[in-house]
Symmetry: C2
């Protein structure tokens, strides 16, 4: 839906958004009130409360530099910086198996840029796969949500490292990723996809 100021100029919520966690860059998310992260958190709560799986988002890593301890009240962090994570954002357990994933979105209409990931995360995914964990990424792209197994992401990453293209094409995503239909509850029912891929 488009809102206009009284002067006719189109209101753009993106311009006013300062919290990077609330970015709504994807067409799928720009038209709804929720972010990919919020949808996944709701999905994980749904799984948790029904006893289906235990998956949590890790807290944002922060380097704390200065903390104030006022008397009789809680400590206040006065200076801190965002740190780069050395792992993925989500992990947990489903039917005894270790789950590990990252969620990313793009507004690019034709490909998924690999700069959404960093070297540490790819290394982490390889380590998880070596321990026989279930590892994947949830991608919000082209107005849809996909689950791409980490093995494929690693393949595309290595193509880039070897001088190949810096993104995954839309056709490649459609070939190797599995579409997760958006639902009401849970919103992003990725466990369904895992059942089909890993538990049969």
């Amino acid at each position: 839906m488009t809102y206009r100021y009284p002067n006719g100029k189109i209101y753009s919520p993106v311009e006013k958004e300062k919290d990077p966690a609330k970015k709504r860059s994807n067409p799928l998310y720009s038209n709804r009130g929720m972010t990919l992260e919020e949808d996944l958190n709701e999905t994980n709560e749904f799984y948790l409360h029904r006893g289906i799986a235990v998956v949590h988002k890790k807290p944002t890593p922060v380097q704390i530099v200065n903390v104030d301890y006022p008397r009789r009240s809680a400590a206040v962090i006065k200076e801190a910086y965002f740190k780069q994570s050395s792992t993925t954002d989500y992990n947990g357990i489903y039917k005894g198996r270790y789950l590990d994933f990252e969620a990313k979105e793009t507004k690019n209409p034709s490909s998924f840029p690999l700069q959404n990931f960093h070297e540490h995360q790819i290394t982490h995914m390889k380590q998880v796969l070596a321990q026989d964990g279930i590892c994947f990424v949830i991608l919000s792209a082209f107005g849809k949500i996909f689950l791409l197994p980490a093995s494929h992401l690693i393949g595309f990453w290595e193509r880039k490292e070897n001088g190949g293209r810096k993104s995954i094409t839309k056709a490649e995503i459609e070939e190797h990723a599995i579409l997760i239909p958006l639902g009401f509850s849970p919103r992003i029912h990725y466990i369904n996809v895992l059942d089909a891929l890993y538990f049969n």
Copy 2:
């Protein structure tokens, strides 16, 4: 080693320590330069680099209230608060199995106070056990390091909830927990204990 000021007074680094993560309350740790958390981080790095297991400490959960975005430089968090975690601090994967644990220390010479844990964490441990995860606590107490399976901790917690004692006695720890001998590298070789308990 004891350091003295020129006036002969003994220098105590504990008095100057303000960072709660660096507390050295346990006799085992008060005599060494490392904290339980540092020993576990080193142990987990050892496991990671040798391809033995992938275990990470989760970042400290922080509620970010105010962030400054100075031009051309990194965002500075100007106001934030420590949040209570809804899970345990450590999780990961070993030989395909999901691992989940919390590490706590006490200086109490005769028992381990249950107030070191909170309700959320006990609930989380039950959820992990229900998914067939390996869940435990690493306790630094009485000058030693122990691994106590979560099932026992939950038992002691429920005794407290039913009006029983608010701690685990030293004798109970010695009966139900497994001693982890302190080593050089890795420092706290808890995987050895898991091998004996869960992988044979």
